[in-house]
């Protein structure tokens, strides 16, 4: 299957694309509308099947991976839960991007690069309030990740946002979701653990 054929198949069936790659790879680049559910050997099939039954019953499902082992393992895990998969893709984003098809991409920014150009960014810290005792990046706004969907309206479409959390995991998901909504976002790699570890200034 070529990337164009995959695109046609998704469009024709209004298929739900489940991206099984690691969260980092999804954040860097993914198909618009795809859901991130990184495959894992324990519990993945039941969790995803449960979610599909609840949120998207009857929806056609396409699994998106970047290697055969990963894509087929995910398919097997859903098979075991009696969820049938319409198609699997194991070629990653390379062929999709090469075909000029639309992508959602989030830039990664290192703590050093962010420090250098701090005025170019509005920093959003998505940690929980109790985690802020270790300090926040000067000027950062705290929006705990659970409040992001209701508070997204506070953000400006023409502003560049750098999303940070403790270690870079939650910020990765938050940034991917915000990019999906059309905002200009970057993920701060390594989060506050590297910002503080690198001796960069914090506000308390």
């Amino acid at each position: 299957m070529t990337a164009e054929e995959l695109k046609n198949l998704i469009d024709a069936n209004e298929a739900l694309v489940i991206d099984v790659r690691l969260g980092r790879a999804f954040t860097e680049s993914h198909i618009p509308g795809a859901l991130s559910a990184p495959f894992s050997q324990r519990g993945w099939g039941a969790a995803v099947a449960g979610w599909l039954r609840r949120e998207a019953p009857g929806k056609s499902v396409v699994l998106f991976g970047d290697n055969k082992v990963l894509a087929e393992s995910a398919q097997k895990a859903l098979d075991a839960e009696q969820v049938s998969v319409q198609a699997i893709w194991d070629g990653g984003m390379g062929p999709w991007a090469a075909a000029g098809l639309p992508i959602v991409a989030v830039q990664n920014v290192t703590v050093d690069a962010l420090r250098q150009a701090l005025t170019d960014w509005r920093v959003i810290d998505v940690r929980e309030p109790y985690e802020l005792r270790s300090g926040i990046i000067p000027g950062a706004v705290n929006i705990p990740i659970g409040q992001l969907t209701e508070r997204i309206g506070e953000l400006q479409p023409d502003q560049r946002y750098a999303i940070v959390c403790a270690s870079g995991n939650r910020s990765q998901s938050a940034a991917a979701w915000m990019a999906e909504q059309g905002y200009q976002v970057a993920n701060v790699v390594g989060g506050m653990s590297l910002w503080i570890g690198g001796g960069h200034p914090v506000e308390r």
């Binding site: 690691l22 969260g23 980092r24 790879a25 990184p38 495959f39 894992s40 050997q41 324990r42 290697n67 055969k68 082992v69 990963l70 393992s73 270690s167 870079g168 790699v189 390594g190 653990s193 590297l194 570890g197």
Partner: protein
């Protein structure tokens, strides 16, 4: 750092996935045919790592490797000592080469002896400290033992040379700080080692310096003589396994 040993107790084989949690980059070391490439792909995924290279500490003669299969499945390089006589294309590693996986770095030390293409991987995590934290010693230094000198070439002259090399290599490893962890490619009763190999899969440089009999038997001649005395028949199909792992079809 992310650190995951994967083992095959049947053959006393160890393999490893090592990576940096921030950069999300990792390597697989000495992946085992008995576990298959799939095991490493799925373990790395569970650990949140994208494998960027497969490295082997030497071309194995006692078990099938899944390094080529893994490298092909993921489209990543297969790293081996530049001295490995492999028939496929590989990333040729030399003494002093450094591979940076974010803040975790892996430095190649050539430690010939068990085979001419034996290397050790010295691993440092700069987030914790500038000194090495552990070393993967392949079949150079084992826990309580050293790798046998006769599996790459059974010619008596070659065995003697291999034994001399092994003496230098294991003593060179003693330059590492005492607290450096030692993680070999075998433990327990592996055909690649001898009588003294411990069932414990890891040790430290300091412990081996004090208590490994091969590091405490004095000069080169005594070491070579002792290795000669302990020679035993090669594992079944050793030559065939090494040929297959080199990609040579016989």
């Amino acid at each position: 750092m992310i650190w995951q040993p994967l083992q095959d107790p049947e053959l006393g084989c160890m393999s490893y996935i090592i990576g940096d949690p921030t950069s999300g980059e990792g390597i697989a070391v000495d992946p085992l045919g008995a576990l298959g490439a799939e095991a490493y792909i799925l373990a790395a995924q569970d650990l949140g790592l994208a494998l960027v290279e497969v490295i082997e500490t030497h071309v194995h003669a006692d078990h099938a490797s899944s390094a080529q299969e893994l490298a092909t499945a993921l489209g990543i390089p297969h790293g081996l000592s530049h001295r490995a006589p492999a028939s496929y294309a590989f990333h040729a590693l030399k003494d002093g080469d450094v591979m940076a996986l974010g803040q975790v770095s892996v430095t190649i030390w050539e430690t010939p002896g068990h085979t001419p293409d034996s290397i050790s991987l010295v691993v440092t995590d700069e987030r914790r400290g500038q000194e090495p934290w552990l070393v993967l010693t392949g079949d150079s230094l084992f826990v309580g033992d050293v790798g046998r000198p006769d599996l790459a070439d059974a010619d008596p002259g070659a065995i003697r040379k291999a034994s001399e090399d092994q003496y230098s290599s294991v003593h060179r490893l003693m330059d590492l700080p005492d607290y450096t962890e030692v993680w070999p490619a075998h433990y327990g009763s592996s055909p690649c080692g001898g009588l003294f190999m411990d069932k414990k899969p890891n040790s430290t440089i300091g412990y081996e310096r004090r208590f490994n009999p091969f590091l405490n038997m004095g000069d080169l001649e005594t070491f070579v003589a002792q290795q000669q005395r302990l020679l035993k028949p090669p594992p079944e199909e050793a030559q065939e396994l090494r040929r297959r792992n080199l990609g040579v079809t016989s």
